[in-house]
Subunit: 538 residues, 2 copies
């Protein structure tokens, strides 16, 4: 079992230069947790990225399936950490043990999914166009293209999913799966959890004799550390999950580099839900209960938490009874603990700002208590007020939601027009006579969100090949990608082609005999067969 | 036949607000060409993008194969323009008629290739994971994801390929193929060519009764126009081919938007060629001749022109005789006309800067003459000087190249270490006893270039599914993509998923019966079959 050192993992060593330290805080009590953790400075960043570069050069020459073994092994070693990992995560995040156990399952499942993708290796999307020396007016060359790893990737661990989006979460798993070394910056709310996870990766690297620079974990609280990581010339891409403010700041730094790099930032969103009164007629209490559960998951700190609920049509009595029922289920959560006092303070501030706006009614007034603790909040307003008050169109990260009464679908469309890019959009439709209205709402949701959910709830993101956890800005910085699911691997790869290269200069994925037995497209046909070259061409 | 109006094409109308005009210049003589062209201002940009938005909303509801018919029709209408198009392009660009005829073939071939991709419609990369209501602990939802168009795309026409990278070149074709409306800014060197091409698109849109806002062409010379187009809130993505200076400026503007958008800029590069002396032994004159042809294509104004030629090993006599042979073939080009006097002046300035550096020898001193005319240039230096002088590591866009004598592969690696991201990297290898050196150079080239060419020349880019016309910055702003070939379509699409949506809310590509008969991945299996839902789930 790894004893927490309070140091960084750099090139396979636990180390730190002399410098400041910080401690994690217990979210319920505000008490400081031992030990102190070293603050990483520019020296550590340099060392980690130089080691990553060196590792990258070595791993490029390994048999291409090495990430599969590594990811499988990491998952096993995370399980080997046992209760120590769950206990430390619980003390640092105040997330319940049951939830953390589930999240660990999800994190390990994710690692094993990417291991499988790396093992099959078809994700490189190899395409071969064979030569045609007889083509006129010019002979056709032999062209072969594939996806290749980019190089060192910097990953920022998220606060709200210390295991599934943390130091060894989806960004790290997908970047490693593509064959990149990863330098993680752990979230300062849970440095002990980060170190334990890093120790699992180190142990996996050692067991497989892989270059130690393949993974590093740096700790620190300063913006300077984040900026230095993104600015470093050896960094080729960045994965981030967190607030819009920080995500945008990192994106801006990356865009201003002499040589810009992508920042794949997932920054949360409003996740609007549109509930047609027809759905309420069918089962108001079931929806209220399902919605309350979705709202309160992780104390309202899910990226996909539905922040605004549009109730379309119906009379005051129907809507009122739904709101009462929702409030009852939400209030049953009692006092909740958020991830850290800073998030709690931001939530309290935003809610108190909402509640002072004319036309906004407090349905459930949650009060903050000590440290990171607070109570759930529900507010209610009309479509007209929502459209006018820009403040209401922004995310309140925490256990709260805004109900918006819309007279009709037209009203709802007007509201959705003011909603910025979102990870998800949800419809509860019931059985409607005229589906044109629902189709219009669905189309509108598609235009602002990466995932459209029907008759369900946006929280509880599946990890598979059909998921999209993405969406237009500010939900993410790149709506062409997803940060969850198998397609996430493409973010950390670049396209390269070889023209008329003999087999011994080609990466295995492009060689004639298809030694990796991957799926390739050869002259327009998808196949795992080898390629026969025209012998006259060379 | 379309009579050139000097106006913009906006929402199906030739129009312009009152304002300044400009004229194209004949590159050989500097004479102004009639007619004058209106300078687009913010009003035209607004009108074009509003019309594009409106068109986008309408075309999203059309049967999804409309871009196939449009692209085919555009290619036909371009051919219908006949000699008038070639004559106007010739007068505006000074490119020879034969070359323009070939380029037109390439442009139309490209349109038809994207038409085929849009017709098959499998490019949307549909992935379906069916529901499993019995999964524990939570039921598995039905999830379906696909690529969807982004919305209005702005395309900047390139100067050097008025047909294949111009108003209706690869960027426009791929953006339309994905289902996006396109607003083109024509290159100010060839506004008449732009207008003729736009007239072909208009005629195709009219013939198919497609929304006129699907395509717009604006003319103008000002940076303000470019900036306004990139800043416009309705613009969702940008395609650009041109100089690093302009490409980076547009990238910066896009990154600073309140809601950033991608700028896919292809900005040319050094395109290093590494020639091992062993290759020279085998056939020095054949390589000199092939290289001279590659260098002088389009008067040296190809994005893939090999700008730096590393000669590795061999004695002075062998290298000297190769350089003489290359100089003889290059000099045979005589006086050349560049695309416009501005490009010619930049080329002259850069070469004269190179030639003043200590250790740089002028092999062939080309002199500028009137208007955009000049003569080809060859310079020679050593690996040591090349590595020391940063100026030599920058592209000189025009008919010139720098020869660099390297003692060995080590020397060549040091040179390549100083070369920034490039579209291509080339090796002439000959028969070597020890292939490890060649493999090392190939690996190095792969790390800096999007395409590695063996025993060939980087100019003459194939348009097919295996090509990569891309590369690390500053060759492009996104090494994950290509601006030529079928994969270019992905740049202009975003990922979306539907969860538990009934058939009538799904885009056709995701519907149960697979009405488009496209290739999809269903529960991990690639198929064109339909999907059977578990009836109990809804």
């Amino acid at each position: 079992m790894h004893e927490i050192t309070g140091q960084h993992l750099i090139a396979g060593q636990w180390r730190s230069l002399v410098g400041a330290t910080f401690k994690a805080t217990a979210p319920q009590t505000g008490a400081l947790l031992e030990p102190g953790f070293a603050e990483s400075g520019a020296g550590e960043v340099d060392a980690a990225l130089e080691a990553a570069r060196e590792a990258f050069e070595k791993t490029l020459d390994l048999p291409p399936r090495w990430p599969a073994d590594l990811l499988d092994r990491i998952a096993d070693r995370i399980m080997d950490l046992g209760d120590a990992l769950l206990a430390r995560a619980e003390s640092e995040t105040a997330l319940p043990r049951g939830r953390l156990t589930m999240e660990r399952g999800r994190a390990c499942g994710q690692l094993k999914m990417f291991a499988q993708i790396a093992r099959d290796a078809s994700w490189v999307d190899a395409v071969i166009e064979c030569a045609d020396p007889k083509r006129a007016p010019l002979p056709k060359p032999d062209l072969r293209r594939m996806l290749r790893p980019r190089g060192p990737v910097v990953v920022f661990g998220a606060s709200n999913f210390p295991l599934a989006f943390g130091a060894v979460g989806g960004d790290t798993a997908s970047a490693l799966a593509a064959g990149n070394p990863v330098v993680v910056k752990g979230h300062p709310s849970h440095p002990g959890t980060t170190e334990l996870l890093a120790s699992a990766v180190l142990s996996a690297l050692q067991a497989l004799s892989l270059p130690p620079g393949t993974f590093a974990a740096l700790q620190g609280k300063t913006h300077e550390l984040s900026n230095t990581l993104v600015k470093h010339p050896l960094t080729t891409a960045v994965g981030f999950t967190g607030s819009q403010q920080v995500g945008r700041a990192l994106f801006d730094i990356a865009a201003r580099r002499p040589s810009p790099i992508p920042v794949y930032a997932e920054m949360g969103s409003l996740n609007p839900i549109v509930i047609f009164s027809e759905a309420l007629v069918e089962g108001p209490d079931a929806i209220a209960k399902g919605l309350a559960t979705s709202l309160m998951l992780g104390s309202g700190q899910f990226c996909t938490k539905p922040g605004v609920i549009l109730i379309v049509g119906g009379d005051d009595e129907m809507a009122g009874s739904f709101v009462d029922s929702l409030a009852k289920h939400v209030a049953a959560s009692g006092t909740l603990t958020m991830l850290n006092p800073g998030l709690r303070d931001n939530f309290t501030k935003r809610i108190s700002n909402f509640s002072t706006l004319p036309g906004v009614k407090m349905v459930l007034a949650g009060n903050p208590s000590s440290a990171a603790m607070t109570q759930p909040v529900l507010l209610e307003t009309t479509a007209q007020v929502f459209c006018q008050q820009r403040a209401l169109q922004e995310e309140a990260f925490g256990p709260g939601a805004l109900l918006v009464r819309c007279r009709d679908a037209e009203d709802a469309i007007r509201c959705l027009d003011t909603v910025a890019g979102s990870l998800t959009g949800t419809i509860h439709r019931g059985v409607l006579d005229d589906d044109a209205e629902v189709r219009r709402i669905a189309r509108k949701l598609e235009s602002i969100a990466g995932r459209v959910v029907v008759n369900g709830y946006p929280t509880g993101v599946e990890v598979n090949s059909a998921i999209v956890h993405g969406g237009p800005y500010p939900a993410t910085t790149d709506p062409g990608t997803t940060s969850v699911g198998s397609a996430a691997i493409r973010r950390f790869a670049r396209l390269i082609a070889y023209q008329d290269a003999p087999d011994n200069l080609l990466p295995p994925a492009l060689q004639d005999s298809n030694p990796l037995h991957i799926e390739r497209v050869v002259d327009g046909r998808r196949t795992r067969d080898g390629v026969h070259r025209n012998a006259n061409h060379h």
